[in-house]
Symmetry: C2
Subunit: 348 residues, 2 copies
Amino acid sequence: MTSETTQHSGHPVTMRDVAEAAGVSIATVSLVINDKKNARIGDDARGRVREAIRTLGYRPNALAKNLVSGHSKFIGLVADAIATTPFAGQIIHGAQDEAWKHGYVLLVANTDGNADAEREAIGMMLEHKVRGILYSTWYHRAAAVPESLRETDFVLVDCFSPDGDAPAVVPDEVQGGRAATQLLIDSGHTRIAIINTTTPSPAHEGRLLGYREALEDAGIAFDPSLVFDALPEQEGGYDSVDALLASGATAVFCHNDRVAMGLYDGLRRRGLSIPEDMAVVGFDNQEVIAAHLRPPLTTVALPHYELGAKGVRMLLGVDEHRRDELVTVACPPVLRESIGEARRVPTA
Amino acid sequence: MTSETTQHSGHPVTMRDVAEAAGVSIATVSLVINDKKNARIGDDARGRVREAIRTLGYRPNALAKNLVSGHSKFIGLVADAIATTPFAGQIIHGAQDEAWKHGYVLLVANTDGNADAEREAIGMMLEHKVRGILYSTWYHRAAAVPESLRETDFVLVDCFSPDGDAPAVVPDEVQGGRAATQLLIDSGHTRIAIINTTTPSPAHEGRLLGYREALEDAGIAFDPSLVFDALPEQEGGYDSVDALLASGATAVFCHNDRVAMGLYDGLRRRGLSIPEDMAVVGFDNQEVIAAHLRPPLTTVALPHYELGAKGVRMLLGVDEHRRDELVTVACPPVLRESIGEARRVPTA
């Protein structure tokens, strides 16, 4: 058999059916559906049409309605890999929730970073007369703004124009780095290491800056021998253990939760305990990892949901911003058990 | 300043601009854009219109085009949490790639399992005259088919109707369970445990059945004392270690990669090595975990990308199926290092 058999059954309810049930003309039904406030239709007839629509289960043709109004209720979301990465899908979630709140629907296109796919996706969205487009990357970085984006309103999400000429919303890496470091300072540590990523990026620079600022505010001298770079995944954390222990650090801020996970393995292999022998804080709050390590990992969350929601609010003008503004969203700490109680550690 | 300043600049190219550049009437431009094959337009004029569209960067109004053709090029994807779970986002990815291949665009709505949001999402899609709807869940389960879905073509993805009256595509849990167990048998093990989930589900029943079938085919007697149930996350694996070791098993098939991750921690705490003291195979292929454990975890992949792609092919009739058919997609093994080389183990 063919898929023809999956065809839905039943005759769809038409505008004519509604008109007959309401005892009005098709033109009147159309005016009610398209919400023409000035049309001279009695409240009684309008009420009968609405009642008939409800009773019959008539579905107005949104394509026609959008054409009449000259615009659609779509917001486009172009992403390089967002729907397929472990946790940045929260950007979609936040954008969608916020879009719905304002009566908009999300058109999602994933481009895998392919320029042709990207051009095609943006073109498709423009042809559907979207209200605007969110252009998003799966990790925080500079991104060249595709020329066609400028044919409509747009907001960059989790990325920014290197030329500083486009509205954008990104995580506040500096504040996040400060927050992570502050948790360790508050717990009494003074010899605090950072295992940063080897990749130059806003996360690399921003978190390191936040780390330095927090130390400075606490009156702890910055010590370059406590700064390590490693691959931003489990293997990087695991391979950093020897150098970390040799440094005399009693606490460490890891570039992300995956690095912390590898570090856990490396510390355990040496027979060391967390947080007794080493207090650890991560970054990202990748739930499937952070919440389930032994002990559960205290970390700082990347605010993906809020990035998506904020992007929509900026696009719709609900939240005001300048056309070239780089808006940041705070990265909140998530407390679990890898730091332990406050204590006093002698300065090395 | 307000977001008004983000308004894009420039006058959009109109159909009139195209007509003037091509030296034809607006009606002719419209006919070319809407691909009216029977319209009497010379190849020369048609070519000039297309050239003008390209040169001017005119974007046809897809809303108008869809209205003329009576249908849209949308496929809806309604998901209960798909865009927000660590790896089921691959369903979106597969669906979108396949939809694009056939000239369709994906409208994505995430409902968080909320019935009102679901009704609204399906209603919105019907009003946009979608070609059909994929209805998807973030883990394989039975799902009641919302009544409004039956107003259009639809395919259930990663879920199925308990009444067996709807087309669906789901992972082949039995084959996956067989594949996982077979890897351990091929490596010479005969005392093979399974740590299953505590939750009744197609994954629970299917993988256990596959485990039993593989043992039976290999002439290994099924031993109920080798079947354990645990929470399907790290804690469940960790807490199963004592019972697992007491059973005399030399190899274990874990319900998912998270259980395997917890088991790794538990075995290590006992000073045991993987795969020397215990061969381990997982399920899911959750990359961020499986590929980065020590040793990297051999597992069986949930075919999320293929579920999405197959769903679209079924919906469009590219792949034929019966209207009530439950189509399964194979779960492929992913070989890493947690089983080790083939060896002979004496039967207990």
